[in-house]
């Protein structure tokens, strides 16, 4: 690895990628911009910053991998834009936009191995994408067709969790199960598993998150707490959620906490890969704070002009995760114009598919109200189902008789 490599044509796959910025030459970052401790491998201008711990992980990515990450970023942003538009057209009840958080989510999702499991909140569309969950499953939930009914066993991606913070305990318990299965610290890369438990900056105030830190710490469980600090919990800024920087909390619970630039996909990928490796090898939990920004409203029901100034949003626009990555891919010669055009075409096709699939999505069966409440029947649910069925049948009889 060299931080002075200036090869005009980078070699394909698994080799050094051009590093153009000497970290020593970068002035200390202001607290509002992430502070001096924040890991950043790619500046907002798209320049690679060397890092002694993480360069190796980035350099192990092939050019195909690197182009794949770009494709992921563009396509999930497209899904998000389409879903927001579909909500405005009355096709969805609600949508929680991930705009601005694509790199944090794709970086984390792509750092996972097949046997790893993610426990998301309700905005983790990028991690869902990386885990192979059909975006239409996410849209079905926000359309009100179901409650997010993908099978976690198929994807290692658990249901969206709307009650803030609940999922970090579920993820920690799951990680305790991984330990009991002997699937940690064996050295077998296809067996050792870890959990990513997602949370936002708002969730860090919840008791459940703090309890999950206690449990994971005490039991040394293989869980990576992945906090996307998007600066806003609906209308409340970080200052209303936490006094100390979020990543520093890990100290008090006895495990490492790392802040990474959440708009830097290489940084998030590298840090998450390292922390997942650590967890799988039996070294226990860690907390990653991906320092990012919620560019859109909290959800389509929210109006951020009530509580934040547009100048702040403008600052973060300059830190866009996709623009900086594209700039780097181009400057390194990793991707050419044909590649970017092909991704745009694919994005357009995906957008069309999302729109047409949404408007043609069938309504659920009314029996869904009663079915699957229990594994084994519950008398009072069965009684209600019978009552409702008879009620519906009574209309049919009336119609026939008329």
């Amino acid at each position: 690895m060299s931080d002075t490599d200036v090869a005009a044509t980078p070699p394909l796959g698994g080799m050094d990628h051009h590093v153009s910025v000497d970290p020593a030459a970068v002035p200390p970052r202001a607290a509002a911009d992430g502070g001096p401790d924040m890991v950043q491998l790619l500046t907002p201008e798209g320049e690679r910053v060397a890092h002694p711990e993480y360069d190796e992980i980035v350099d192990a990515l092939s050019h195909d991998d690197l182009r794949g990450l770009y494709r992921d970023l563009v396509l999930i942003r497209r899904v998000d834009q389409e879903a927001t538009a579909l909500q405005r057209q009355g096709e969805l009840g609600l949508w929680a936009s991930l705009l601005g958080q694509e790199a944090a989510q794709i970086g984390a999702g792509r750092a996972m191995r097949t046997q790893d499991h993610a426990f998301p909140g309700y905005r983790e569309h990028g991690i869902a994408w990386a885990r192979g969950v059909d975006p239409m499953r996410l849209i079905a939930m926000y359309r009100g067709v179901d409650k997010g009914a993908w099978d976690p066993a198929d994807h290692g991606f658990h249901p969206y969790t709307i009650v803030i913070g609940n999922q970090s305990l579920l993820g920690t318990g799951y990680a305790m199960g991984i330990q009991r299965d002997g699937a940690v610290g064996t050295g077998d890369p296809d067996r050792d598993a870890a959990v990513i438990a997602c949370m936002g900056d708002g969730a860090t105030a919840q008791g459940d998150n703090n309890e999950s830190f206690v449990f994971a710490g005490v039991y040394n469980s293989p869980v990576v707490f992945f906090c996307q600090n998007n600066q806003w919990a609906i209308s409340e800024p970080n200052a209303r959620q936490t006094r100390a920087p979020i990543y520093k909390r890990a100290d008090g619970f006895g495990f490492p906490g790392i802040r990474v630039d959440g708009n830097d996909i290489l940084g998030v990928y590298a840090v998450t890969t390292a922390m997942l490796d650590r967890a799988r090898s039996g070294e226990g939990p860690s907390l990653i704070e991906a320092f990012t920004y919620r560019m859109a409203a909290h959800t389509t029901s929210d109006d951020p002009t009530k509580y934040r100034v547009s100048a702040e949003v403008e600052v973060w626009k300059l830190r866009d995760p996709i623009a900086r990555y594209k700039r780097w891919l181009m400057s390194e010669g990793i991707a050419d114009a044909d590649f970017f055009e092909s991704v745009e075409r694919e994005s357009d096709e995906l957008g069309e598919k999302v729109r047409s699939s949404t408007v043609s999505m069938p309504d659920p069966d009314v029996n869904d109200i009663f079915d699957q409440v229990y594994v084994e029947p519950h008398r009072q649910v069965e009684d209600d189902k019978a009552t409702f069925t008879a009620y519906l049948d009574s209309f049919e009889t009336t119609t026939e008789g008329a």
């Binding site: 249901p159 609940n166 579920l170 799951y174 999950s212 206690v214 449990f215 869904d368 699957q372 229990y374």
Partner: protein, 328 residues
């Protein structure tokens, strides 16, 4: 082992041990359940025999116990979590209501969460506040959960095993003031053929039905014995399950007796007893000779322990309820 005389506490311990022997996925977790064996010793010696990976002493955090228990279930385990006392379950309430009860339906059946939540419940032990509550209505009101009570050693032994085998989440209430009362337990009887959610007619009668569960079953049996001396034949039904409610067992009895008294430790206001009264009124109105009477804890917070004998429905108050039913 065959049939032995033992306590509810020891029967539960034996039932947990049997479940752990039968299925390596059964895991216990809770506060002080390992080395100490639980504050009521229900898990005594289990950590020694099954190891601390299967009998887990947890941090003192009920939501954490519950949430990680659900997570273990998602990984394929069958956790039995102990909430130390009834009044300490509320920090776990969010996890129970928002996740435990809903994950199966949220996933349209893809996920099962076979978690048993053991809760020592009820009053009568002279305890300080938060140690004497009967909070079953909260959980019975949460569809997605099943809620059962054991009332005697025999039931305790097989019911805890069936609750663990059940693929739905089960809130398992244990009447703490009865923990050390003895009864016959057939340790060789298979748990399987019996239905965890079926009511049990514990005393047959013809004149009035007494419906009860958990610690009130003994009170009602004693009341029925006294009533018999006065020439009244009371049928006593141990509901065992308050969600689901075996309503057919109750209506069958009421159609025979024409009168129903429901006895519970919980306040009557918006309670399981109220639900039974409504269900019976809807289903067998013309069989009723009298309104359904609820004999219950008063509609107040549980009082200081020096007053609990005035709060808890005892034999005399049950018989007073019976008298009121016969006044019609």
């Amino acid at each position: 082992m065959a049939t032995q005389k033992t306590t509810i506490a020891k029967a539960l311990n034996a039932g947990l041990r049997k479940a752990m022997e039968d299925n390596p996925k059964v895991i216990l977790q809770g506060e002080d359940i390992g080395q100490l064996g639980g504050v009521f010793r229900i898990t005594e010696h289990l950590q020694k025999d099954f190891g601390d990976d299967r009998v887990i002493d947890t941090p003192l955090a009920e939501s954490g116990i519950m949430g990680t228990g659900i997570g273990l279930a998602l990984r394929g385990y069958r956790p039995v979590v102990e909430i130390q006392f009834d009044g300490f379950v509320y920090p776990a309430f969010d996890q129970i209501v928002s996740q435990l009860s809903k994950l199966h339906s949220r996933s349209r059946g893809a996920i099962k969460v076979p978690v048993v939540v053991r809760i020592p419940m009820g009053g009568g032990i002279g305890a300080v506040e938060h140690h004497s509550e009967s909070n079953e209505a909260y959980f019975a009101h949460t569809l997605g959960l099943k809620v059962v009570f054991c009332s005697n050693p025999e039931d305790a032994y097989w019911m805890i095993q069936q609750a663990i085998e059940c693929d739905d989440p089960v809130i398992f209430y244990e009447p703490k003031r009865r923990y050390h009362e003895k009864g016959e337990v057939d340790f060789d009887a298979p748990a399987a053929p019996r239905d965890l959610f079926s009511a049990h007619v514990v005393r047959e009668g013809t004149d009035l039905t007494l419906a009860c569960w958990g610690p009130m079953v003994k009170v009602c049996l004693d009341a029925a014995a006294v009533a018999a001396e006065e020439g009244r034949s009371l049928e006593v039904i141990d509901l065992r399950s308050v969600s689901p409610i075996d309503i057919d067992a109750i209506t069958r009895s009421v159609e025979k007796t024409g009168r129903l008294v429901v006895a519970q430790e919980a306040p009557s206001f918006v309670s399981v007893g109220s639900e039974i009264a409504a269900m019976v009124t809807e289903r067998c109105f013309y069989s009723l000779e009298a309104p359904v009477i609820r004999v219950a804890g008063w509609n107040t917070p549980y009082p200081a322990s020096k007053l609990e004998e005035h709060y808890l429905p005892d034999l005399d108050r049950v018989l007073d309820g019976v008298d009121r039913a016969f006044a019609h």
